[in-house]
Symmetry: C2
Subunit: 147 residues, 2 copies
DNA sequence: TAAAATGCTCGACGATATCGACCGGCGTCT
DNA sequence: AGACGCCGGTCGATATCGTCGAGCATTTTA
């Protein structure tokens, strides 16, 4: 599926997506047209979902992050989901199995804003909030090798 | 801190970081050297942490994701943290306040591999695992406006 | 075995990023 | 109030880069 060169290309691009094709080609020992074609096909196959910039929430003034588990009250599931989606402070939300229906990541500027944000769903769901103290693992992709 | 043009640059770059400076400049109504300089300064200030590719775990064969809450047994905290960090299937891990010490995202190829992976920490921590059924909110940055 | 498809290199051309020089507005200091 | 210096901008030239077409080797298929 993915050969050795594809994997190296991905690794390099994950670290720095702005690298030139020429440099990229040099690092894997191919010509730039070949590399260009390989990258194009990685996109086509959906392995590369897109090229993006990583924005640092802290630098934007969001000093805190919280992991919020959300359990909608009976009959409120859809309303709650819609509310969450429309609140831009949620940076990510997974719908999961188990008692907690949603697990979401919340960006907050300061601790005193937390209550105001959660109040908006407080009458439609039970929530458990855990403040993020540190990030032992920063976001990273799963292993590229077929294992 | 961030002016209107910076915000528009970020929005555009988040959607497609491979856009040419020329096109980027046209979209915000500046010359390309100005835009180049602005992007450089966004990096310098740490607002842009880097340029990267988004890799799709599904396309790599990881059909499932799980959110795992991990509570190390007394005295095992550091060992558990180290174990987690060294397991490449964990795509992200937050250390949080509350009973659950860690909340991590796990990429798995199929459901029958889940047990084998969690077994590696089973004797050092209690875990609660929730399988991700869908993603109401895909990863996104917090609002860029100062609010 | 022959034909076709795949994946590569090479060279040329058009597009692009970058660099230096220059300009204008704004805050500051005398 | 006026002059100075700085910040952020434009413009044009140059060097770099990506892309395209042609051609070649290897492997797969009929």
């Amino acid at each position: 599926m993915l050969d050795d060169i594809d994997r190296r290309l991905l690794e390099i691009l994950i670290k720095d997506a702005r690298i030139s094709l020429k440099e990229l080609a040099a690092q894997v020992g191919l010509s730039s047209p070949s590399v260009s074609e390989r990258v194009r096909r990685l996109e086509e196959r959906g392995v590369i979902r897109g090229f993006t910039v990583e924005v640092d929430p802290q630098a934007l003034g969001y000093q805190l992050q919280a992991i919020v588990r959300i359990r909608p009250l009976p009959g409120k599931l859809h309303i709650v989901q819609k509310l969450i989606e429309e609140m831009p402070e949620f940076g990510e939300c997974d719908k999961v199995t188990g008692d907690d229906c949603f697990v979401a990541r919340l960006y907050i500027r300061s601790i005193d804003r937390l209550d105001g944000i959660l109040d908006r769903i407080a009458d439609k769901a039970e929530t458990s909030t855990a403040i993020v103290k540190s990030k032992p693992i920063e976001r990273r992709p799963p292993p590229l090798s077929p294992s």
